[in-house]
Amino acid sequence: MTYQEKRTVVSIISTVAVFTAYCLYIVQKYQNGGLNPAEDIRFWGITILIFIPIQIVANIIITIVFTIIHAIVTREEDDPGFTDERDKIISLKANQISYVIVGIGFLLSMIPLVMGMAPFVMINIVYLSFNVADITGNVIQLVFYQRGV
């Protein structure tokens, strides 16, 4: 497995970890009775505004830690330190698919509104679609790195 492939796997793990933390936080909040999801739109806005920077920071920290550990374990500088034309093509193709998933997620999020469901369902579908798009984009990158592009 090349450095780029390992980095992509780490990115997937990071996204899954933060999204799991989000889900646990919501479930815990709900079980403690401190949540009225049908009404408290403000709560959802604050929660997502907090978790998006957490996700970005967590990704940066985990990537830095991975780079350090990788350098210590492999004892070689496999990190090229830059992205070349192949990396850019793979990234572009993965991003295209991610955008499609976000678009589909946004359209799907309209369904609960049409059906008269609580707005928090729509908000969570949008947030879920961002995470699914991120994970799928990384998986696609991994496939392109392994099978070729």
Binding site: T2, V143, G148, V149
Partner: protein
């Protein structure tokens, strides 16, 4: 995605250039070692610019290093 339709002799040219490593070639043409490895394995078709850069390094023409193996129309 799929099988790359461009074959190449980069490995042979590297061997004939005092056994140049993938890393050395990568540094000379400005890409990562993984990209050179992917090209040699037929997992990536380089851009025309990169193909020219590689050809210049080996003092050869592109046709000597790369060959198109796709279906002819």
């Amino acid at each position: 995605m799929g099988k790359c339709q461009i074959s190449n002799n980069i490995r042979k040219f590297r061997f004939n250039s005092e056994e140049m490593t993938q890393q050395q070639l990568a540094e000379k043409v400005g890409v990562t070692r993984q990209t050179i490895a992917a090209i040699e394995k037929g997992k990536y078709s380089p851009t025309l610019e990169l193909a020219f850069r590689i050809a210049i390094i080996f003092n050869s023409s592109i046709e000597e290093i790369f060959a198109f193996e796709g279906e002819e129309s």
